[in-house]
Assembly symmetry: C4
Homo-oligomer: 279 residues x 4
């Protein structure tokens, strides 16, 4: 239980009870709290999305407004309870999830004072990040770790690859701008837009909002696409190799035979396959 | 023969004969039945598709109507025969393929009573699922199992990844809506549409029906695409590793312990890891 | 030298000489012949392509016409020489490359008689396939085999996967047609077009000529894209695993130690790593 | 330190000092020089990009002009210093980075004489390549090598694959031109454009600027996309396998034979495979 850094708490005190409900997930009330919080967050995000749809916002503006305030007050109570329940409130308040929790309630209060700004919407969507904490406690823990570990190990290679990609798209973007840019009906208006096009093409997204119209431009585009075809294989290859390595690693290296020190055993092995001694 | 859960049937009775023809594929009539059924399903789907093309529907409406009824009656007879031939009709009727078989005939009867509705079309397309049963009996069995096994094993990781992706596109969608949404000529009308755009972009589909037009929006889009470039590698990596692992699993299944029948051993094993006997 | 099924030929006869030049690539004249043929084929394809561009065709129609006839006569001479040089002309004429060689010269003669048809163009492009024969003799042989072997081994799994994909796009196409088809401004005019859209989306091509416009349609499209995101990983995983298996296979399984029968050695091993005896 | 091919230099002479600052990265001044150069290159590229945006170019043309000249003079001084500091100036001047360094300063001087040409822009973007040299000295060295090694080893297979792809798109392009080209409202105007479309489709970029409109054309396009779905897996598979192989190669390098210093052994080796001594 890596999230229990509070083992010398009195579990029967009010503080202890609150902590158990809010921060843990293996009691009935702890689970109920997590599920309720999850539902509230989902409602909150649903309201945020519907609010952005003009058709709904005109009709139900008031309801959205009230729901948002009720949710904000509930989240504020939760934030206060968290501050009360932890041993070191300051440490929690400055931790990653502490800041997220604060950002989850601040926007509504700020919108109250600073009317008419939409910038706070993006802060409200940050509430989604709180879902990660809930799931961290209940499920997926193992899957997350394997993936996270593989991604962390792949990161130096991937980042080098992305850096190389960035230089490549700059060169390609300038080239295509030279070829297509002179044409008055061309959408390659300037180099930054041409680089945007190069990225859209190399990643095989291909919106089609900007497309080459001269034969030479189409030829260059074809070359880039075929090149991108091989390039897309690189990050996949890196991550595949890393996941495969991690996989074969974590299942086999657990057991060591005490007689012959053979280290590689099948996960369900009960006897050493080299000397026959029980493990 | 895993599909023969009826071994204590009298194979010479009418029931037994019917069962053999309908449910099995290793006799001449069984094969003939399967092939005929396959052809009827394909005709049925072809009619469904042509019916939806206005140009054909105006000209050949009557033919489509008659073919559909003939097929429905044939499928009804087949359904009745299946109910008759199995030992436990209720168990069949409530099984996955039993429900599919019923759904394959219901739409036409329902359309007879409830005129003018097109909702039943989607039920008629469910007939395609019946093709799986036919092929399950004849071919591909091994391929299906390897793939199915690998996919089932990859599922926890993939589902965690998709959950993470869903949260990511919500955050990205809100961000791009904030950047592009204010622009009157923008297609980012609301957050749900922006999230749809984020999915279209991250999966590298890139329809181009919604594209960023402000420089900042194009910059964010570029960043998302390059990010998506690495992200697309993750499910591929997971499944590759799983298939590769399953493959090498095939290698492991060569040895069988003569004492405890354990089948999975490391390639260099000299002793059974379950009972400790020499291999 | 697998292409030499004519080893009891007299290499100094005219027939033998012709055979050596045309069918083999390790003599000076054999190489010259191959390179000349390659250049002629490339010119032929270039003419075919330029001919299709109206701007060039109007200006240079005559030149294209003459070049095409010169090339056809040269190819005819080559075809005659091949028929003359092989031991069993009928066997060559009915072989894969024999048919391709005939198809490479037929279109021009046929166009001479049947004026105004463009169908023969596609036959002229078949000349490209002849390039494969040239390269088969000189280079890439090993790369081709590894790839071909891996692809052949992956084929049952891939074909099962494609079959499954086909059923899936039919169901998806019908579903989206039901959702979007009713809308008068929708491009989902009928089920075949909707299936075309489903393929365009699942393969992440995403032209954008047909896009969902209702919220429900966009939601379904999003679900399909995210699904396709994992699905695209399957053929990659299958082929990766196959290539990886083939790779590690062909390097290691060559040597067998004659003393301890250990089979797995590094490619440059000179001593057995299990018993220390020289290999 | 592979870049020190000048070890018999007097490090305290002016030449030695200059060399140390410009070509090496492990002293304070060497690092400062590299970082300054990096900043100057990034400024230079930023100016190039902003210059191409009409809105900025009209307003700040003069500033861009002055910055460009200052940078060119600084780069010229650097080039002169490099020529002075190396032992064999001619060898440096004709080396890859020597040519790049010259191309980085030439455009501005040439634009001074040959007014009104934009062709030199693409030469100015070549300055980006100089960033590679800077990073080669400081970081990523290991990542680059693993990737470069894997890519070099994959190259024969990838190039064969790309060659095959090129022939395939020519055949597909001609086919679709035959099917769609007759239609007056079709965008498949000629074979080169149709091949461009085939590449856009097979690589799953899918701009949508050219799309089939006849049912037969859409059917062929669907077939190509599904084919491309499996084809895209091939380069990924090749590179994945290569990276995975290189990876497991890392594992082999743990053991070093004390007699012959052979470093590559199988994980379970007990004797050196080169000299036969026990490990």
């Amino acid at each position: 239980m890596p999230t229990r850094d509070e083992k010398n708490f009195d579990p029967n005190s009010l503080k202890g009870k609150t902590h158990e409900i809010i921060f843990e997930a293996n009691t009935f009330w702890g689970k109920t709290f997590d599920v309720s919080l999850l539902i509230l967050i989902v409602i909150s995000i649903a309201v945020l999305m519907l609010e952005s749809v003009d058709a709904y916002n005109i009709l139900y503006y008031k309801y959205f407004y009230y729901i948002e305030w009720v949710l904000t007050i509930l989240f504020s109570i939760e934030y206060a309870a968290r501050l009360y329940a932890v041993k070191k409130p300051m440490k929690y308040a400055t931790s990653f999830y502490g800041v997220i929790d604060l950002l989850a309630i601040l926007p509504t209060y700020l919108e109250f004072f600073i009317v008419g700004t939409h910038f706070f919407m993006v802060l409200r969507v940050m509430r989604l990040l709180r879902i990660f904490r809930i799931f961290k406690l209940v499920q997926f823990l193992n899957e997350r770790n394997t993936l996270a570990y593989s991604l962390r190990r792949s990161w130096p290679k991937i980042s080098y690859f992305l850096f190389f990609l960035l230089l490549t798209v700059c060169v390609i973007g300038t080239l295509i701008y030279l070829i297509e840019g002179g044409n008055p009906s061309s959408s390659f208006e300037n180099i930054p837009v041409s680089i945007y096009w190069a990225i859209v093409t190399l990643t095989t997204v291909g919106y089609g909002d900007i497309t080459p119209i001269t034969p030479l431009g189409q030829f260059l585009a074809s070359a880039i696409m075929i090149m991108g075809y091989s390039i897309i294989a690189v990050p996949t290859g890196i991550i595949s190799a890393e996941i495969a390595r991690h996989k074969s690693g974590d299942d086999l290296e657990i057991l060591v035979c005490q007689y012959c020190s053979e280290e590689t055993h099948l996960p369900n092995a009960e006897f050493c396959h080299q000397c026959g001694h029980p493990l």
